[in-house]
Amino acid sequence: MSSVATGTDASSLRSASSKRRGDATFKGVTLAAGALVFVVLGAIAVFLVVKAVPALQADKSSFWTTQIWDPDGTAHFGIAALAFGTLLTSFLALAMAVPVALGVSLYVTQYAPRRLATLLGYATDMLAAVPSVVYGLWGVFFLLPHMIGTQVFLARYLGWIPLFADKNNQVSSYSKSVFGASVVLAIMILPIIAAISREIFRQVDPAQREAALALGATRWEMIRTAVLPPSWPGVTSAVMLGLGRALGETIAVALVIGNVYKIDWHTLIPGGHTIAANIANRFGEAGATGRSALIASGLVLFVITLAVNLVARYVIYRAGAEERSAL
């Protein structure tokens, strides 16, 4: 309130002192906002650590390597399979979503007529507005039953890649799998990556594009030489945001994935689990140790996500100060 009042004073009186007061107030407000981020992040970290310690002390097997989750019964539990599944589903989702997302945003910014571009932009953004539980239910009741053909196809023609190999003839029926979860995740992160990279591509200096075209470059050559190189740090950060969303997605994955605590590269057969999905599934009936153990797994997810963000920052930093300022 006070800053608003000061602002009015400043515009009516134009006195130097109140202008300075306005400056100081505004600086204070922004500083507080900035500091709040650190306070919240710090508070989350402290909460997670404090609540996780009892479970880590009660764990009878190694928290980092065990592929079982039984904190309330035998007190054997570990993060290995969950962390593996979290990373595997997220990177598979990225592999599916990034090409499509970049294709959409390049088409929208470089090829499509204005009206179609606007429409396509809205349509992609709409995907982000669908609640994740709807994606999960859609995955369980529609996608999985209709994906059996795709599973069989992938296993037959790409089965030589361990990721798509069949095991004990399990691909030919309804399968709650890592692959299914990745497809759902890919659709969920698509709009984030597409929307941000669309804005990045729009930022490219039109003079550069026209220069490339004037030098006789085709449309594709122009994109390759004038649009992509200055955009790539921004696109990387878009991809990293998408990855962050995929790593932390909870209910959609909990519904679709196989909930098996085992490290397994076969993505098409029933199996797989993620940290966030495990928390969603096990929290309701967890005992004291169980809750603490789930929080410990949340701490690991927090660290993984933080690491991903730091890597993204580093990539952007490396790419140069000019592009950094554009972000």
Binding site: G73, F141, S173, G258, N259, Y261, N281, E285, A286
Partner: protein, 359 residues
């Protein structure tokens, strides 16, 4: 929380049926207590067992219809969450499929400034739901079920299944079992039954979650049933209402008696023969002995957990009246929703417990 159309329709029908019952019918053994139940008003919030959730919705809406000004909201968050919330004092009563552990009882007693009491409010069977083309009737013994869910019996024409079903032609379809991914009282009851009756053939112990060596896991009873619905050769365990919603058949299961169907009468009989009260005074918590159960042998009770005394007199009265209604007139709603009425022996005890809640 989820309330499929079929259940909603059933609820509407049941509400209608109850209204009619309240108006005149008196061939039900419990309806002669109708006048003594009485009303109270106020509002209560409760959480807990998802198993009893559909019953709670029915009861709370019926009770609100009977007694204007009574507003009771029950959310199915899981028995564990319900017990925890009750202990920390954020809800007025909890629903649970299991009795409290000593540390949970201590927390609940502390919250109540006295004693927290537990008593059964409904009974239900865990159905074995399957989807095998051409098979509409199936017998399964505890040992066969153990083999199916642990992955040692792999096809539907295995010798063990044939032995349970003499004269039935079974297909060589692969068995695809589905179990709960989330912690669940359903898993606890099913595994306790297996541990009691399959002997050394059952190696997974009994708990709300197990380390399954085979099969797929899905979230919630709707999740496992959806898996079975989509899979020829699929089988799972879930509340019988999910079998009805998906028009899937349920197996006859053998306990100490002969193979029995999951019916309200068979479940009530199982509880009558297999449930022993272990609590003292107004605490009607008890143990299930699956080896003693006649009737349908995978049967269980679901409890309410309340304080013996509430500092708020209106709240105490409402809880007392509501649960008196629940364990008497409310029992007739069980069958339509896939539950079973409590046997008379337990109704008497639960009614006494509900009536004892004071301020």
């Amino acid at each position: 929380m989820k309330f499929p159309l079929a259940v909603r329709a059933a609820v509407v029908t049941a509400v209608g049926a109850l209204t009619i019952a309240a108006c005149g019918s008196d061939n039900n053994a419990t309806s002669n207590t109708a006048n003594s139940v009485g009303c109270a008003s106020g509002s209560l919030t409760a959480q807990g067992s998802t198993f009893q959730q559909n019953m709670e919705k029915q009861w709370t809406s019926d009770f609100a219809g009977k007694c204007s000004g009574a507003q009771i909201s029950y959310t199915g968050t899981g028995s564990g969450a319900g017990i925890q919330q009750f202990g920390s004092g954020t809800i007025d009563f909890a629903g649970s499929d299991v009795t409290m552990k000593p540390d949970e009882q201590a927390a609940a007693d502390k919250r109540c400034n006295g004693k927290a009491i537990t008593f059964p409010i409904t009974a239900g069977g865990i159905a074995i739901i399957y989807n095998v083309k051409g098979i509409s009737s199936l017998n399964l013994s505890p040992k066969t079920l153990a083999g199916i869910f642990q992955g040692t019996i792999k096809t539907w024409d295995a010798a063990e299944i044939k032995a349970d079903n003499p004269g039935v032609t079974l297909p060589p379809t692969a068995i695809k079992s589905f179990h709960r991914a989330d912690g669940s009282g359903t898993t606890s009851v099913f595994s306790s039954f297996e541990a009691a009756l399959a002997g050394s053939d059952w190696k997974l112990g009994h708990d709300k979650t197990l380390n399954w060596p085979a099969g797929q896991a899905a979230k919630g009873s709707d999740g496992v049933t959806a898996g079975v619905k989509q899979t020829d050769g699929g089988i799972t365990y879930a509340e019988v209402s999910f079998a009805k919603q998906n028009s899937l058949p349920t197996a006859k299961v053998k306990g100490t008696g002969d193979f029995a169907d999951l019916t309200g009468a068979n479940v009530s009989q199982a509880i009558d023969s297999g449930f022993t009260v272990s609590g003292s005074g107004n605490d009607v918590s008890g143990n299930l002995d699956f080896t003693k159960m006649t009737g349908y042998p995978i049967s269980t009770v679901s409890y309410a957990i309340v304080c013996q005394k509430y500092s708020d007199a209106a709240k105490a009265k409402l809880i007392s009246k509501f649960f008196t209604y629940v364990v008497t007139d409310g029992q007739s709603a069980a069958d339509q929703l896939g539950f079973a009425p409590l046997p008379q022996s337990l109704v008497d005890k639960a009614k006494a417990a509900a009536g004892s809640v004071t301020s």
